[in-house]
């Protein structure tokens, strides 16, 4: 979905688009013909001619690691789509490289920029629902709904499959809203329509805090119109059910520092979401790029969705794969 990133960046008042690179001439010819963005079909050729301050990388996952490295070595700030890389080793190496070079680094886990999940993180940090007892992390949607022709998405070694796609979003929420996944007690990777990759992932997860929970993800579920991601967390003082549109908080006893009352509190994203200057697919997609751009400008700290945070998810994916063997 590189086009939507390009569109959001193109509408940002602080950004000058100096190049768009795509191997598909269908895309670059379109841009050459209808817009004023200089296009290339190869990053090396592009880098010979222009010197960008920052780059957005939205390509098949197997190309992430080499491309990210290429740009970091040229001292260019990097925003990469998720998942970060295909191995924890690559993720850790690139995290270190970005830190050494003091470059802004971010990965596109856009849920972190949704009002509901931001509020969820805040409530957990404040201990609103007491001592955590259990969590269920879920995502369902209708991506693969019939037997598949071969594309990179049907090949696990290229980053295809539900684990790298849908599940990575949910794992990132668990890692960065609750606590990092450090143990996977067992996993089922199920094929539904895909011959070579999984369409569903079910795992028992253990976190660094000792909390345990369940991961349940299926991208071949036609009962959903689009991707739906939900975290349910139970604690000694209540429960939180949170998705992209709503946060439902049940409190047994109100918390002094919060305005929420005993029993159910329902908050919609409309109340929680901050507006953006240019809207394309959802506030969170614009907000994450606005944040990256602001970080490059030195206006905000580079602390959300960093390479280090995304590396936790690459690590969790690796643990799930190992546990399923």
């Amino acid at each position: 979905m590189g086009l939507s990133h390009l569109s959001i960046a193109g509408a940002h008042p602080s950004v000058e688009l100096v190049a768009a690179v795509d191997t598909a001439t269908m895309v670059t010819d379109f841009l050459q013909k209808f817009s004023d963005i200089p296009c290339f079909n190869d990053t090396k050729k592009m880098l010979e001619q222009v010197t960008p301050d920052a780059v957005i990388i939205a390509v098949p996952t197997k190309y992430h690691a080499p491309l990210i490295q290429e740009f970091l070595e040229k001292n260019i700030h990097v925003f990469a789509e998720k998942p970060f890389t295909l191995s924890a080793a690559d993720a850790n190496r690139l995290t270190e490289l970005a830190a050494t070079k003091k470059l802004v680094n971010q990965v596109g886990y856009h849920n972190q920029f949704l009002g509901t999940f931001k509020e969820l993180k805040k409530l957990l940090q404040l201990g609103a629902i007491g001592k955590l007892q259990h969590f269920t992390a879920e995502a369902y949607g209708p991506v693969i709904t019939k037997p598949q022709p071969n594309t990179w998405r049907s090949n696990a070694s290229e980053g295809g499959g539900c684990l790298y796609d849908y599940a990575s979003h949910v794992l990132d929420l668990v890692n960065n809203c609750i606590a990092p996944v450090t143990e996977v007690k067992g996993s089922l990777l199920k094929n539904i329509y895909s011959a070579q990759t999984e369409d569903a992932v079910y795992s028992l997860l253990g976190l660094s805090t000792g909390l345990t929970g369940v991961l349940s993800v299926n991208w071949s579920d036609t009962t959903y119109r689009k991707m739906s991601t939900q975290l349910t967390i139970t604690g000694s003082n209540g429960k939180i059910i949170c998705d992209a549109t709503e946060l439902k908080l049940f409190l047994q006893t109100p918390v002094a520092s919060l305005q929420y009352t005993e029993g159910w509190n329902i908050l919609s994203v409309g109340e929680l979401q901050e507006p953006v200057n240019f809207y394309l697919r959802g506030e969170e997609y614009s907000a994450q790029l606005d944040y990256f751009i602001a970080a490059v400008q030195g206006l905000v700290p580079n602390t959300t969705n960093t390479f280090a945070a995304a590396a936790l998810t690459d690590n969790a994916i690796e643990l799930i794969k190992k546990s399923a063997k």
């Binding site: 569109s7 193109g10 509408a11 379109f30 991506v143 998405r153 119109r225 409309g270 809207y279």
Partner: protein
């Protein structure tokens, strides 16, 4: 354009503030009869324009309207295309090129076909025209005086600065369907300027207008400044801010704005339809 236009989100489980309500709506409107029933309630309340996305099921609604002309005198449909998730899922599944191929009419490898020619020669305008024709098929025999480009495409082209494609959409629906082009957007100030710069006079733009500034990208002030220029026909949508603004105050706000031509709303129950229509007419 009528003052009130009836929307379709409620029929297809599109709910911007609750996935749970979305599911309940999908269950409620499982049958085409359930949709027709609500359209008839709106029609009886005086709402004679249905503005809808080009879902496959809309074809069945069109068939019903055509089969019962006496019940729908002067009834209009404003098609909004494309249905984005259909294409987005296809892109995820098949890649950009695969998705394009799958939605081009005919077999693209049969170069004798117009679609194949357009694809191979990268004639993007031709491809867009073929896709418009494919989406418009179900509306044959229906009065469609305005044809809309969905916000996800309008705004994508806007950010890519591919403005000529917006102008081409405008020209094609006029030429082929004798209709006016409408543009749905979440970025009114930017789009308004681009359309006027492209020589589109008094453009039809459907965009969010609500008291809370929900999905009014660039801010309420910039939106109201566009109205003040009085050189576009603006349809206000998302007047309830997705559902968290109370009906009375929501409608008082949009009714109080000079320069709003029409108000788009959707509802599932007779009570809500009558209440909203009544408040708009107050």
């Amino acid at each position: 354009m009528d003052r009130i236009l009836f929307g379709d989100n409620q029929f297809f489980g599109v709910n911007h503030i609750s996935d749970e309500k979305s599911r309940a709506q999908l269950i409620k409107f499982k049958t085409d009869e359930a949709i027709i029933n609500v359209l008839d309630i709106a029609k009886d309340a005086g709402v004679n324009t249905f503005m809808c996305t080009t879902y496959a099921r809309i074809g069945n609604i069109c068939k019903h309207i055509k089969a019962n002309p006496a019940n729908y005198p002067g009834y209009k449909i404003y098609p909004c295309m494309p249905y984005a998730h259909k294409y987005a899922n296809a892109v995820t599944e098949l890649g950009m090129i695969g998705a394009l191929k799958s939605y081009m009419p005919g077999n693209i490898f049969t170069t004798a076909l117009k679609g194949g020619m357009a694809f191979l020669s990268k004639d993007y305008q031709k491809m867009m025209e073929l896709m418009i024709d494919a989406e418009m098929k179900m509306f044959e025999g229906i009065n469609t005086p305005v044809i809309f480009l969905q916000n996800v495409v309008t705004d994508l082209l806007l950010g890519l600065r591919a403005y000529p494609m917006l102008y081409a959409f405008n020209a094609y629906v006029k030429k082929k369907y004798n209709a006016e082009a409408g543009f749905i957007t979440m970025n009114l100030p930017l789009l308004h300027k681009v359309l006027l710069d492209g020589g589109i006079e008094n453009p039809i733009i459907c965009t969010s207008f609500n008291k809370e500034g929900f999905r009014m990208s660039g801010g309420t002030k910039a939106y109201e400044a566009v109205l003040a220029q009085n050189n576009a026909r603006i349809i206000a949508m998302q007047i309830f801010g997705g559902g968290f603004i109370a009906p009375k105050e929501a409608i008082e706000y949009v009714n109080g704005l000079p320069g709003i031509s029409s108000i788009l709303f959707g509802a599932s129950s007779a009570a809500n339809i009558k209440q909203t229509v009544g408040l708009i007419h107050q």
